[in-house]
């Protein structure tokens, strides 16, 4: 069957399904059909059926969703002459339709994600010249040193590889700033980084003016370099040694290829993971994007540039005058422009860089605001649906990626809709109990099952909702402001090197407590109304149940904004690498257990622990992957120790003195990308809908109490502060 034939067949069956779905059959039929389809889907899901069965299950789900849409559209809207009901009712309807539209777009995107690609190889001796750009704005030298060292240590012919530090923190504009402190700081930074770069063998580049933010900085880099390919790493994204070998080969296979994107793997938890303590066991938020969605986009040749961990073709960039800087998400915008010019992109689903993500809730929100606003700008300025040069699937893919960020609006509506009934007695959704059961409940169940089917091991049940809820409060004003004034937002660099030493409430956490309080009052109102108005207890219970769901979510978010203090500033990565541990002149056989950006844990054999007090300086001697084969020594200081028989476990802190030491640290942490894959796949388990839901309920309960305790504590401390004053 040809392409056209298969599309025609699909269109035909779609029409048939639509025709059957829009038949106005009665409630009994709907009820029976819902039960049957939900059962079938559950069986398919339990059997973990893949391939065709997966698409059949999704078709089942689609049928139920469309039945819901049909019913919702034809029989649940409040009458037009009751404006007080109709207006909120219609808003709720629009919000639901948005969700359904996003569901269908994402179904399209991830219907059949590409399986992991075969590694590409570079023909012998045909290594293209690569410029590595590490744009920086305000990151400190230590962080940059690790990244640059790791970049420099990538396996690639040295004469074909140039690493550039593109420093926007030391521009002429900054150095000559009217603000004396800022000018001083910029000059010092300029000098410090230049020295570091010289030591590491990296090119340092800065410019006169900070124009067009990151895009301008990258374009400036392009002006000064001439490599055929350009790899971009954020200042905190250190590449593994095999990064270029895994990515560059594809450019040779496809001359129209402009982008090879790889996932962002993070060594530290985001604030939700840290505060909810899920980092070790639950897949990260971005794994859904990199694990499934980018693979889905890749199927449609629509994988887009994510700002870092990617290789681009200079020729393509030059054709579109470099990186686009109209929006504050220059990465996606650039990819959109190049896709529009007929260039191709691919996505390699293997973590090849490791980075940091924002540690505090506030900077997390700051980062998300930038993404949301930037995507909105793309939506407004470049409306992908009608952008010329794109294929239809690409248009849909970009619409899916940009429209997603409108989520704060429907979320807000879902949050407040039940309150209309509970507080003001407005009926904004007209349905009987039976209809609710047959349509709405089936829809919700099917929705959860589809989500679980699509993203099961990458996203646990209710976690998407939690993330969206947590972002909604602060993203709503951001999204609305960009919709009102699209050109206003400007690029802000996300701080990622903060750490929280002390448990406290997030500075932007207050609204969540207010929301929680309101929803809690609504819960009390539900109980009150069930008792005082028994004649409409059924409706009250349904709406109250919806409110309870919101309350559970809001409670869980209280835990998210209650920032836990943490001792280790950065995450540890398990390594298990043989080495020698030396104190003074004596060397003991040892194994490196795990490493972080700041230190390592070493099992040392045969050392007399009592002879080495804390803060003793020593060294770890090991053979770097990137070196010439001879062992090298990294100076450390002992921070703590633990004796287990013959073995003493030492906690050490690096004491890097020369640039080479940074390379050794990078070698320890970043050299082996397989560790990261292993770590990720360890977290990827699908708990299933029931277990996942129960787990989430428990989590929400626990986090609510934690949030409230933090809240009490913050009240008390502010009181004592006042008293002190």
């Amino acid at each position: 069957m040809s392409k056209v034939g298969s599309v025609a067949a699909w269109a035909f069956f779609s029409l048939c399904v639509m025709a059957v779905i829009t038949l106005p059959v009665n409630l009994q039929t709907q009820l029976i059909v819902s039960v049957l389809i939900v059962t079938f889907m559950a069986i398919l899901k339990l059997a973990n059926a893949g391939g065709r069965w997966r698409l059949i299950a999704l078709a089942f789900g689609t049928a139920v969703v469309l039945r819901y849409v049909y019913w919702r559209t034809t029989s649940t809207l409040p009458p037009l002459n009751q404006l007080e009901n109709f207006i909120p009712g219609f808003l709720l309807y629009l919000a639901e339709m948005y969700s359904v539209m996003m569901l269908s777009l994402s179904l399209f995107v991830v219907a059949m994600p590409l399986p992991p690609r075969k590694a590409s190889s570079i023909s012998d001796g045909k290594f293209p010249k690569v410029d590595v750009f590490v744009p920086s704005y305000n990151e400190d030298a230590g962080l940059l040193a690790n990244t640059l060292a790791a970049a420099k240590a990538m396996d690639y012919p040295a004469d074909k590889l140039t690493v550039w530090l593109l420093d926007d923190g030391g521009t002429l504009q900054k150095r000559n700033s009217a603000n004396l402190v800022e000018a001083q700081r910029a000059s010092a930074r300029n000098v410090e980084l230049q020295t570091l770069c010289d030591e590491l063998g990296v090119r340092y580049l800065t410019r006169e003016r900070n124009e067009h933010a990151k895009a301008g900085n990258l374009n400036n880099g392009m002006l000064h370099s001439d490599g055929e390919l350009i790899a971009v790493f954020d200042a905190d994204h250190a590449p593994a040694r095999d990064f270029l070998l895994e990515t560059v080969g594809y450019f040779e296979q496809d001359p129209k290829l402009f982008l090879v994107q790889t996932p962002h793997f993070f060594l530290n938890p985001d604030p939700l993971e840290r505060n909810l303590r899920t980092f070790e066991k639950m897949p990260s938020e971005n794994e859904m994007f990199y694990g499934i969605i980018q693979r889905g986009l890749d199927k449609w040749n629509a994988a887009f540039f994510c700002g870092s961990a990617a290789v681009l073709r200079r020729k393509a960039l030059e054709e579109s005058d470099g990186f686009s800087g109209m929006s504050i998400t220059e990465d996606c915008e650039t990819a959109l422009a190049l896709h529009g010019r007929g260039w191709n992109s691919i996505y390699v689903d293997r973590p090849l860089i490791a980075g940091l993500q924002p540690a505090t809730f506030a900077s997390f929100i700051g980062q998300r605001s930038r993404w949301a606003q930037g995507m909105m700008q793309i939506l407004i300025f470049r409306f992908p649906l009608f952008k010329g040069g794109l294929s239809i699937p690409q248009r849909l893919c970009y619409m899916s990626s940009t429209l997603f960020w409108l989520f704060p609006i429907p979320r807000t509506i879902f949050l407040f809709a039940p309150l209309f009934y509970l507080f003001f007695d407005l009926e904004i959704f007209t349905a009987s109990g039976g209809e609710f059961l047959a349509y709405t409940l089936a829809y919700m169940l099917v929705n959860l099952m589809m989500q679980n089917y699509l993203y099961g091991s990458f996203r646990w049940p209710w976690i998407s909702e939690l993330y969206e809820f947590a972002q909604t409060v602060h993203l709503l004003p951001a999204v609305i402001s960009v919709l009102l004034r699209p050109s206003r937002p400007t690029f802000k660099v996300t701080a990622k090197d903060e750490s929280i030493l002390e448990s406290r409430l997030s500075e932007i956490g207050r609204p969540f407590f207010v929301i929680f309080a309101v929803l809690f009052v609504a819960l009390l109102m539900t109980v009150y109304r069930v008792y005082t108005e028994p004649y409409k207890a059924d409706v009250t219970l349904v709406v109250g149940g919806w409110n309870l769901l919101n309350l559970i979510m809001a409670g869980c978010v209280l835990g998210v904004v209650s920032e836990r203090g943490e001792r280790a500033a950065s995450r540890r990565v398990k390594v298990s690498r043989r080495c020698e541990f030396g104190v003074g002149e004596k060397w003991y056989p040892a194994t490196i257990e795990d490493v972080s950006a700041h230190g390592a844990r070493v099992q040392v054999f045969g050392i007399d622990a009592s002879t080495v007090p804390t803060d003793t300086e020593g060294g770890i001697r090991f053979e770097p992957y990137s070196g010439s084969g001879t062992p090298e020594t990294l100076p450390v200081a002992i921070r703590n120790k633990e004796i287990a028989g013959d073995i003493t476990i030492m906690g050490c802190r690096y004491l890097p003195q020369v640039a080479r030491h940074h390379s050794l640290v990078a070698d320890l942490i970043f050299a082996n990308s397989r560790q990261w894959s292993a770590f990720q796949s360890a977290r990827r388990g699908n708990p299933g809908l029931v277990r996942g839901t129960l787990w989430f309920l428990w989590l929400a309960l626990y986090q609510t109490s934690r949030g409230l305790i933090y809240f009490m504590r913050s009240l008390r401390s502010s009181e004592t502060q006042k008293e002190g004053a």
Binding site: S6, I21, L23, P24, V33, L55, L114, D298, K536
Partner: protein, 776 residues
């Protein structure tokens, strides 16, 4: 008199003070039909009541002529408010004669006279009203009808009650309230005996009713047995019936003159001039030269006899067509209204597609209500090919209001043909004005022909809970229904089904739609069979709104592929006919011999007994409880999940049945055969007369309807398998709705269809996705 005046004064004061004290909750001033007229003309009403009480016995003066007016076997007005309206046709002579309206009523002992009122309206004007106070014995009432009130042609008559309980304030107590008027006591008395005379053919419409609310046409036909005459006689019966339009019309065919001058009867003499001359004093002029159809007056009895005659039979036939032809209308143009006026006003509108009907058009007036159970009704007709009973919803757009005294938990219920179709709660504690509030009304209980939709508001209030003395009679309105409310009918599926007796009952379908003559097979041409056939065909014509052309056949083979009627006593019928309409031929001879009655019932009883005996197991109980719950909550039973249609068992008429109407397809499956049968031709005639009464006729449904004289009940055998009969031009939207209805009644097929299509879509998606985009 004094007491009454005092009561009125108090009532007046109460109204006045309450109006001063607080503004009326609804601004509907002047819309209080129950009270207002009393205030305007108190003395007159009082005098009338007194006058009637003064002359209790109705003296029959020979010069008088009285016409019974109640078109029911009994008129009962129940609840706190109730009314009945219908029309009476008067000849010009009757309309010009001075007349009184007489009736006797009796009411439940719990009806509080001071708060209850019976009003009679003629042509929209109050003819008289009075307190309801005849608990002991029937109280005769007579109201003079003022000159000029009656008019030639149709006159509307409306009986309306407002009843309140003496002591009780509960909703349940309102069911104890009734006022009954016996049909034999209710008549209009015309002072001149001449007004009984009928002169023109149009006066057939003034045929009227007898003391039981029935109408009879006597067709006297010399040479009745000649088969060649049957078809014309059937035509005549239909023509007369369509003029009469009465709710229960019976035809009696005979060769001899019946007793004349009976109320509710018209005698027609049909035959050639030569044949009819011996039966009548004087032939109408011209009877021997051309077709005539006119009334002559019998000098002895002063009764009018309709003579239809001519020099030969073809002239008689022509005269018959002169009676019937004007009643004809195109078979393919739907009627706007179904003529129900003689027993139900306003005439029932026929809805064939999307329509909005205002309550004011449907005869529902704006009313304010002070009691606890408000009830009003209207009627709406759907065509014979209505096929939306499984999926369809009509919408009531309700304009109503209730005050803050109405407690939450009160509700408005909507009933369709006596079955609950929808409930909405009145839950606001502060009262509310409902503006076009949409209420979905399931069309599940709709059937072809007129459907009665009742709206009942059940209002609980705080004062009613306390029920202090005087509360039941309180005059503070607490609920109002406005005539701006609407019934919105959607476009519904339309396709005929075979068999479907409901279509016969509602619209005479499929026979009314046949432009060509309908074959009629009579087992023999005796008086009883012919009378039964005439009564049945006349009823069909009234239901269908047009006369049907008839062709008499003598063998089922002659029917060909035409829709055919079979009328006859069971023993004489051909086996083919019985088989085709699904009647067990084994019962052909035994039906009517009472020995084997009750056999099947006992078996069923035994099975039920065994079932209860064995229902001890806990597991079985759980399952049964679940089934009951599902049935109760969602109306789903195991039966609704079946995939194969139920096997259609042959119908064996039980001994209790006196008449059976059965329908099936003809042997070639392209036409409808309907059989009307009984054990004997005498029972056939009686049974047909009984089911021709609209109160029974409207219950005909299913594939077999059996009339049981002992219980006066119609037993329905539902349709299990049927064929569709195309009635509408092919259209995709109609097919879609038909499919929706069929799938709604065959749930598993819908589920199967959706599942299969989903699987196919999944496979198509998979095949498309492997071909589109990148693959590996």
């Amino acid at each position: 008199m004094m007491v009454r005046a005092l009561a009125l004064l108090i009532a007046l004061l109460t109204v006045a003070t309450s109006a001063l004290a607080q503004p009326s909750p609804f601004d509907m001033s002047g819309e209080r039909p129950a009270d207002a007229p009393v205030l305007q003309q108190p003395s007159e009403a009082g005098n009338k009541g007194a006058a009637s009480a003064d002359q209790p016995a109705v003296v029959m003066k020979p010069a008088d002529f009285k016409r019974f007016i109640i078109p029911f076997s009994a008129l009962s007005l129940t609840g706190e408010v109730d009314e009945r309206a219908w029309s009476v046709y008067l000849t010009p002579a009757q309309a010009q004669t001075a007349a009184t309206l007489n009736f006797a009523y009796q009411n439940a002992i719990v009806v509080a006279p001071e708060a209850s009122m019976l009003s009679v309206f003629v042509n929209g004007e109050l003819a008289g009203e009075g307190q309801i106070s005849a608990a002991e014995a029937a109280a005769p009432i007579s109201y003079d009808l003022k000159p000029g009130l009656l008019r030639a042609g149709t006159n509307d008559i409306r009986f309306k009650v407002r009843q309140r309980h003496r002591t009780d304030c509960t909703v349940e107590s309102t069911y104890e309230l009734w006022t009954e008027i016996a049909p034999d006591t209710a008549f209009i008395r015309f002072t001149s005996g001449d007004s009984a005379t009928l002169t023109s053919l149009d006066d057939v419409r003034a045929v009227g009713l007898d003391a039981r609310g029935r109408t009879q046409f006597n067709l006297v036909v010399p040479g009745l047995q000649q088969p060649s005459r049957t078809a014309a006689l059937m035509r005549l019966a239909q023509g007369l019936a369509l003029r009469g339009q009465m709710p229960a019309q019976e035809f009696a065919l005979s060769e001899t003159m019946p007793e004349l001058d009976k109320p509710g009867q018209i005698t027609a003499l049909i035959g050639t001039a030569e044949e009819v001359a011996p039966l009548i004093e004087r032939l109408p002029d011209g009877a021997s030269s051309g077709p005539v159809a006119m009334f002559v007056t019998d000098s002895k009895t002063k009764a009018s006899v309709l003579v239809i005659s001519g020099p030969d039979w073809s002239a008689v036939q022509e005269a018959i067509e002169g009676v019937t032809q004007p009643m004809d209308r195109p078979s393919n143009v739907p009627r706007d209204v179904i003529a129900t006026g003689r027993w139900l006003l306003p005439e029932t509108p026929l809805v064939v597609s999307r329509a909005r009907l205002r309550f004011s058009e449907l005869g529902v007036e704006t009313s304010e209500f002070t009691g606890r159970r408000f009830r009003t009704r209207f009627s709406v007709a759907v065509p014979s090919d209505f096929y939306a009973d499984a999926y369809g919803d009509a919408t009531l757009l309700l304009d109503a209001a209730y005050t803050e005294t109405v407690l939450p938990g009160s509700h408005i219920d909507v009933y369709v043909n006596g079955n609950i179709a929808s409930t909405i709660a009145l839950n606001s504690v502060t009262g509310d004005i409902l503006r076009h509030l949409p209420i979905k009304v399931t069309m599940r209980h709709f059937k072809p022909g007129p459907n009665v939709i009742e709206i009942e508001a059940v209002l609980a209030t705080e004062p009613d809970k306390a029920c202090a003395p005087g509360t039941p009679a309180s005059s503070d309105p607490r609920f109002a229904l406005f005539d701006t409310s609407e019934l919105r009918m959607p476009d519904f599926a339309r396709i005929g089904r075979r068999p479907n007796l409901a279509a016969i009952s509602g619209a005479g379908a499929p026979y009314r739609n046949d432009a060509a003559a309908v074959p009629l097979l009579l087992d023999r041409a005796d008086e009883d069979t012919l009378s039964a056939a005439a009564t049945f065909l006349a009823r069909l014509a009234v239901a269908g709104g047009r006369p049907i052309a008839v062709e008499v056949i003598t063998s089922p083979l002659a029917a060909g592929n035409r829709n055919t009627l079979f009328v006859g006593a069971m023993p004489q019928l051909s086996k083919t006919v019985l088989t085709q309409v699904g009647i067990d031929p084994a019962r052909q001879m035994s039906w009517g011999n009472a020995e084997d009655s009750g056999q099947r019932d006992e078996t069923q009883k035994a099975i039920d007994e065994w079932r209860t005996r064995l229902s001890g197991g806990a597991w079985r109980n759980q399952v049964t409880a679940f089934q009951t719950w599902v049935k109760q909550e969602f109306d789903i039973s195991l039966n609704s999940l079946r995939i194969l249609p139920e096997a259609q068992a042959e119908y064996a008429p039980p001994e209790s049945a006196g008449l059976v109407l059965a329908q099936g397809a003809n042997p070639t499956d392209d036409a409808t055969w309907t059989l009307l049968t009984a054990p004997t031709s005498k029972r056939l005639r009686e049974g047909t007369a009984a089911i021709a009464d609209v109160t029974r006729w409207q219950h005909l449904a299913g594939r077999v309807s059996a009339y049981e004289p002992a219980t006066d009940n119609i037993e329905i055998t539902p349709v299990t398998g049927f064929d569709f009969v195309q009635t509408q031009p092919p259209s995709l939207t109609n097919y879609r709705l038909i499919l929706a209805n069929w799938l709604s009644s065959n749930i598993m097929f819908y589920a199967l269809l959706l599942i299969v299509l989903s699987v196919l879509l999944g496979l198509a998606t998979s095949s498309m996705l492997t071909r589109l985009g990148r693959r590996q």
